[in-house]
Symmetry: C2
Subunit: 354 residues, 2 copies
DNA sequence: GTTAGCACTCCTGTATAATGAGTGCTAATC
DNA sequence: GATTAGCACTCATTATACAGGAGTGCTAAC
């Protein structure tokens, strides 16, 4: 509600306009029905006549905040209307003590491994929001190498395992052109652990390239393979993204049209695109909880929106969690939910990462 | 077409009835429209009048193979009709040489790791069938322990890694009540590898229980944890099921109803139920490619069907692959596709598993 | 500047009729 | 006796018309 200067070049809205825009968005968010002037005065006991409200709404339409689905229907927020609402009008609705307690309790038994924690996070977000819940694994730049293990498998294949500081495992197979001697494997294994333990996973590829000269002499083949392998290692996390509760989206009226549902599920299947979307959402804002709905940003899928927040590990942003649903979402509640959960996840992960 | 005795107590159908049932199912499978008598004589140039066909169709309805969606509509196969079609009428439509080549080529570069192979399998099945593609990881009974690695993480947590004979990794965290000494870890690690290498993963839990007495003396806590951990290990495979192409189901007319789509996607989200379904499908049949559509077997989701086949590793059935879609599927083609792919996957996995 | 009033728009729902695909039945035909 | 042509009938689908209602824009009065 504070009258802060907006960062976009937005024509300043009069208090009454703001109030009515607020009412329209609120109403639409709960009912999913176009809202008319009468509804506004009744449901939000505004001390004006319907006719006046009509005039204001006509102004808001001209300014691009509202939109009529057809002449003589009620109005619906536009993209821009939503953005204004989220950044200038809505009050984040703090979670109640009970809700916080419940969330914390839900997390209390999930302290073991990162994947479980994140899987659980997405599940919880989905459950609490009735939207699709998303949780991303900590970024490679916030993850360190704990240990390498090389395990020969079969004739001439080598399983390369890497445990990170959270205890998560990345693994991949390296196909060798010739069988490998045990002593060679041990030597390389030691080399890797001595040189790269504690190193940021994201920086691994470059570091390997630099230090590899040291073993290149005798064991050209092995070293070469190792290089190729470790280059790819950072992306070899089994599950980079955890997703839950997508089915719930079918309940939302905006996804009753099969076409729309199809697009959304198509997006949810492609984790790479989904990550891009999340990232874009957070880059957009000040780093904390943000949301996205600019048409151009939706990667081709219209009518969806993401409420996301980055969680911090050791004080630095390490990954994203959030929910995805229709543009018409209960932002005040969801924002609080996502932020609070992000805080919690951050603390837990910080603890897990030593 | 062979007149083999059916295993169910099916009233024997006369040749003409069989022919017409065949035509009806075929037509319905391609058009998704109820098929009338005229359509049958026209599209399948049967040398009978529409009226005669009508009579036969009425008989087939009475016998429970066909069904009218309403009086005076065309007929649609029933559950039973589909089953009869699949087991007695359809001719498996062999893949063309070109199709086989393409599939083999698709697999030629994916020889490294099991997960990649299976992921690719589900992708390929989805692509070729226009349905959802499914691939299950090799069963624990067909998988052997290759190596254990224990990696301390943080203060008092222990990452337990297990590489199997395919090079796949299972991992989990064990939370210790007190910090662990390095020598203890090494000792346990050696113990595990010396005793359990080569053991069937499925039999791990029992074996561990028996031999654990040997180290129980000094290191009660560690041993106890190990037991609990290894008990769970077989199920700790990151991805037990690979799924792809579910979005394509939206194209099928039977999933235009959001209710139906919702149910299917609900099922696809729950991998456990999905595995049950696949298993049931294969238990139903003679072990090779089978399909399922008995209403009672669908786990509550009506109108879906699975074409699945188990792949063999070292001659023994090790896992399932298949496609899931509406009952109205091009079985002759899909059966061939799934069987051929299963054969291929089996050979590749046999090679991978040493 | 605000509001009451009114004509107008357009979605929604219901009723009615026309269309057409497909059936079941009967009588004629092979 | 099996097959078929013919015909009346059923029922989903589509089009059309019409009434009702929510909501608007505009104007004139407050």
């Amino acid at each position: 509600m504070a009258k802060k200067k907006s960062q976009e070049e937005v024509p300043a809205l009069a208090e009454r306009e703001r109030e009515i825009l607020h009412a329209v968005v609120n109403s639409y968010i709960t009912t999913a029905e176009p809202v008319g002037s009468r509804t506004v005065v009744k449901r939000f006991n505004i001390d004006l006549s319907a006719a006046t409200v009509r005039n204001v709404m006509a102004d808001l339409e001209e300014l691009g905040y509202l939109q009529q689905v057809h002449t003589s229907s009620g109005r619906v927020p536009t993209d821009r209307g939503y953005r204004y609402y989220v950044s200038h009008l809505m009050h984040v609705q703090e979670l109640t003590v009970g809700e916080r307690r419940r969330i914390e309790r839900e997390f209390s038994r999930k302290l073991d491994d990162v994947d479980g924690l994140l899987r659980h996070t997405s599940h919880l977000l989905a459950l609490a929001s009735h939207q699709a819940g998303i949780a991303e694994a900590p970024d490679a730049s916030q993850t360190r190498v704990q240990r390498f293990e090389l395990v020969p498998v079969g004739e001439n294949r080598l399983a390369v395992l890497m445990v990170d500081n959270y205890g998560s495992v990345r693994s991949m197979m390296a196909q060798m052109s010739t069988p490998i001697e045990t002593y060679q494997v041990e030597q390389l294994n030691n080399f890797l652990n001595q040189n790269f333990m504690g190193l940021e996973v994201g920086a691994l590829a470059d570091s390997v390239r630099i230090r590899l000269g040291e073993v290149l002499g005798e064991q050209r083949d092995l070293a070469q393979r190792a290089l190729e392998t470790l280059d790819l290692m950072p992306q070899r996390r089994e599950n980079r993204l955890f997703l839950d509760g997508a089915v719930q989206l079918f309940e939302q009226p905006e996804f009753q049209r099969v076409e729309q549902a199809r697009e959304v599920f198509g997006l949810l299947e492609e984790h790479d695109r989904l990550i891009t979307l999340l990232r874009r959402a957070v880059v957009d804002g000040e780093g904390r909880t943000v949301f996205i709905s600019r048409q151009s940003d939706n990667l081709g899928v219209e009518g969806i929106c993401v409420v996301a927040s980055s969680y911090n590990v050791d004080g630095k942003p390490a990954g994203l969690i959030g929910v995805l649903g229709p543009q018409r979402m209960p932002y005040p509640k969801l924002t609080a939910l996502v932020e609070y959960t992000a805080g919690l996840v951050g603390r837990l992960l910080t603890k897990l990462g030593k």
